[in-house]
Amino acid sequence: MSTLLSKEFLRRLDGISLLLRRPVAGHLRGQHRSRRTGFGMIFADYRPYSSGDDTRNLDWATYMRLDRLVLRMFEEEADTPIYILIDNSASMGGAESEKLKVAKKFAAVLAYVGLLNHDRVSLISFSDGVLKEMPGRRGKNQMWRAIHFLDSLKNEGRTNLANTFRRFFGTGRTRGLVFVISDFLFEQTLEDSFRPLTQHGHDVFAGHIIDPEEESPSLNGQVVLVDSETRESLNAQVTETMLANYRAEFNKYRTKTEQFFKHAGWNYVPIRTDGNFEASVLAALKGEGIFR
């Protein structure tokens, strides 16, 4: 665990809980509001008592006043399925790449907070499909599994989000909170890629890993650019003008990505690999209202 997150940072995460925008659809008890009524702290409604109901929820004051048995109902607090999808494609770099490291750290933060909040946390690595999955786990004591899972990730393949989502969420997964950690550098459009999640009603949180070398490449002169995923070569005579055009194009691409998620009502957090990860992640997540 210590390889990804420091103890001090974990200690700071101990007091943080997840905030969900909508009621969750978990089946187990948890700390989040659910659409179901049952045992809980927050009053929801009354209904006539029927045989077999828990008599502890009878409203005796109403019985005294109306002489009728009325049952008090409460919102049931349920757990939240949290799906943390980590882009494990070649574009995220090798095992030593900062992008993949940062992605793993970010996934570890999310998993830790989720497990701390008794949510079912699933870790999924993907490229052109699901590569590896850690099924849903609950409880803080499952954090070691998550760390072990993250440590074992090695990037491979080409990114295909649509295929990944179709295959993973097409098997009747419970609606939950989907974290997608990726550099979002792929040919497919975001609309097509995220359509399966939209259809299943998941709440999406995008973690956009940004490498400063991608944002402002340190290239000059004649180079052959080799795509890490497709191995496609691109001859380029890199000039200052071309670099300026590249930076403008990258910013445009990043802005377009952010706008996509915002317009969909989802959360988007850019995570740079060159900054203070811990501070920036906490600030970003709190800023987006995910962490409390």
Binding site: S91, D183, Q222, V224, N235, Q237
Partner: protein, 596 residues
């Protein structure tokens, strides 16, 4: 291939340099950075505005470049001929005939303009081109192909010639050359030979020149002399011309005359006041653009009293009367016996006249024989003919018959002379028999094959002139030898030739004759065993003055021809240069990954 390397060291050096450069560039090529990046997605969009050619076209482009390089390299090395002609050979004919000395409107002579054009042409040729330079005056005796610098040297040595027989050597028609140029005014050589690029330097030039200058005594008054000056206007406009005859600054004659377009006029000057000696004739015109024919030189011979011995059987002769009436003649009559009794030492006559008397021995002084009867000392056969009313025709070129008419001469009977190189024919019958000859030599003789009483000669009006001319030819010394500039042929006994300013002119001898060469008009004196011989060198020829007799386009309309195609570079040179460029392009494209 060997020919290429041996004939063009410059180009072979270029090729070696090219190969070395390519190898060096190959060795020095910067390493291409292969950069593994996460994704080309953004880069594709950036570079998308200037897409590189597809791989298929890369292959074709690479192939095309390789083919072009191969073709141009082979073309450069093997130098394929065009239409069977060598690509790297240029033939240039430069007309340096006398008419090229005429000035153009720019003030330069036609020859200077032509020479400048040739120099420009030579300068525009690549150094590996072989050039044959040919002139029309045969100053280049054996034209051959040489390098451009050598052609420059040959060109510098060429001068305007004096020969009116301008000639393009016939062998140039068979010369194997890809480019053939002729620079001319077309006056003396006519049109350009077939297959030649004509560069005309012809321009109309006003010109008035002297075409004839001669001196003669006045018939009937041998103490008076006349000068005959023929002036021609070779231009299309009338010219006011001043004609001057001068022996010295103070002794001269001038006359202003109008000469119409293309008109020839003859003016007679009374030159009695001139002493014997050289005379210079000149014409002056304000617009004249050809000076070479503006001056001519002549020589007036010495006149002296002539002592004539008249040998005849009778003293009652019309001929004797006529001789005694001639102003410069003092005549003594002799009988044949008195003549035979004279010893050579006692001979005090300058000339003898035999009237119907056969001379048994060869006279030791110049003589005239009327009614020759087979003299044994004469190396010419003489045969009698019987005829009646022989009409004769004269040799108009001979000075004895100058300015007289013999059209009414009739002979009853005569002796005829056989043809001989020793004698000049004076009169011949219409049927071809020679009836009068003049024998030149140290002792001259005039022989007439008829008696005066057997012809009507004495009744002709021109008989006194004939007699005067005959005596003048016999005793007035050698006539002036009038020649054109160039090679002058003299008698074989000439030992020295001096210019009028005393400069010794070199001589050479061939075939029993003496020769000297002069480009300049003027007077020369040749010394022979018989005394001095005056040589007048003048350009007295109508063809010399006709500098506008050309049908070529005028100067200016053909100036652009001077710069030939390909900017003067040979195809081989250009092919080599293209090969170099293509190799560099190929190298660049390959290392830019534009080609494969």
């Amino acid at each position: 291939m060997m020919n290429f390397f041996t004939s063009s060291p410059l180009f072979s050096l270029l090729l070696v340099g090219l190969i070395g450069t390519v190898i060096l560039l190959y060795l020095l090529r910067p390493p291409v950075l292969n950069r593994l990046i996460s994704s080309n997605l953004i880069w594709k969009r950036v570079i998308g505005s200037s897409p590189l050619i597809s791989e298929r076209w890369q292959w074709w482009l690479s192939l095309l470049l390789a083919l072009l390089i191969t073709i141009f390299l082979l073309s450069s090395a093997l130098r394929p001929s065009v239409d069977g002609q060598a690509d790297d050979r240029t033939l240039i004919i430069l007309d340096n005939s006398p008419s090229m000395e005429a000035l153009t409107q720019s003030g330069l002579s036609r020859y200077s303009v032509a020479k400048d054009s040739v120099m420009k042409l030579l300068a525009s040729l690549s150094k590996d081109v072989q050039v044959m330079l040919v002139d029309t005056q045969r100053q280049i005796t054996t034209p051959s192909f040489s390098s451009v610098p050598e052609a420059f040297q040959i060109l510098e040595q060429l001068k305007i010639g004096t020969s009116l027989e301008a000639l393009v050597p016939s062998q140039v028609a068979t010369v194997d050359a890809s480019k053939k140029f002729i620079f001319t005014d077309g006056v003396l050589i006519g049109s350009a030979p077939e297959g030649f690029t004509l560069v005309s330097v012809f321009q109309l030039a006003p010109n008035v020149g002297i075409t004839r200058l001669s001196f003669a005594t006045v018939p009937g008054d041998t103490q008076r002399r006349q000068a005959f000056v023929e002036v021609v206007n070779a231009g299309g406009d009338s010219q006011l011309v001043e004609i001057e005859l001068a022996q010295s600054q103070s002794l001269n004659l001038t006359r202003r005359v109008d000469v119409g377009p293309y008109e020839k006029v003859t003016h007679i000057f009374d030159a009695t006041k001139f002493d014997s000696g050289p005379v210079k004739a000149a014409v002056f015109s304000s617009t004249d653009r050809f000076k070479a024919d503006d001056t001519a030189f002549g020589y007036i011979t010495e006149k002296k009293q002539v002592r004539v011995g008249f040998v005849a059987n009778t003293q009652e002769s019309k001929l004797l009367t006529l001789l005694s009436l001639m102003p410069r003649v003092s005549v003594n009559a002799l009988t044949p016996a008195e003549y035979d009794a004279l010893k050579p030492a006692e001979m005090s006559f300058d000339a003898l006249v035999f009237d119907g008397v056969p001379a048994e021995r060869k006279p030791i002084v110049p003589s005239i024989f009327f009614g020759v009867d087979s003299p044994t000392w004469l190396d010419i056969t003489v045969t009698p003919i019987r005829s009646s009313q022989l009409a004769v025709k004269k040799n108009t070129a001979h000075p004895i018959l100058r300015n007289i008419s013999m059209s009414d001469l009739l002979l009853e009977t005569a002796f005829v002379f056989g043809a001989s190189d020793l004698a000049d024919t004076l009169l011949e019958a219409e049927s071809g028999e020679i009836v009068a000859v003049a024998v030149p030599g140290s002792v001259k003789n005039i022989l007439l094959g008829f008696d005066l009483d057997k012809s009507n000669l004495t009744f002709l009006a021109d008989f006194p002139i004939l007699l005067s001319n005959s005596i003048a030819w016999l005793v007035d010394g050698a006539p002036i030898l009038s020649v054109n500039p160039g090679v002058v042929k003299l008698p074989g006994d000439v030992t020295k030739v001096y210019r009028i300013d005393g400069v010794d002119i070199p001589l050479w001898f061939a075939d029993g004759k003496a020769y000297f060469h002069t480009q300049e008009t003027g007077l020369y004196t040749a010394f022979t065993s018989n005394g001095p011989l005056r040589v007048s060198v003048s350009q007295l020829d109508r063809r010399f003055s006709d500098i506008n007799a050309s049908k070529l386009p005028t100067l200016g309309s053909s100036q652009d021809i001077v710069n030939p195609g390909l900017r003067g570079y040979s195809f081989a040179f250009l092919a080599g240069a293209l090969t170099l460029i293509l190799l560099m392009l190929d190298w660049y494209l390959y290392h830019r990954r534009i080609t494969q």
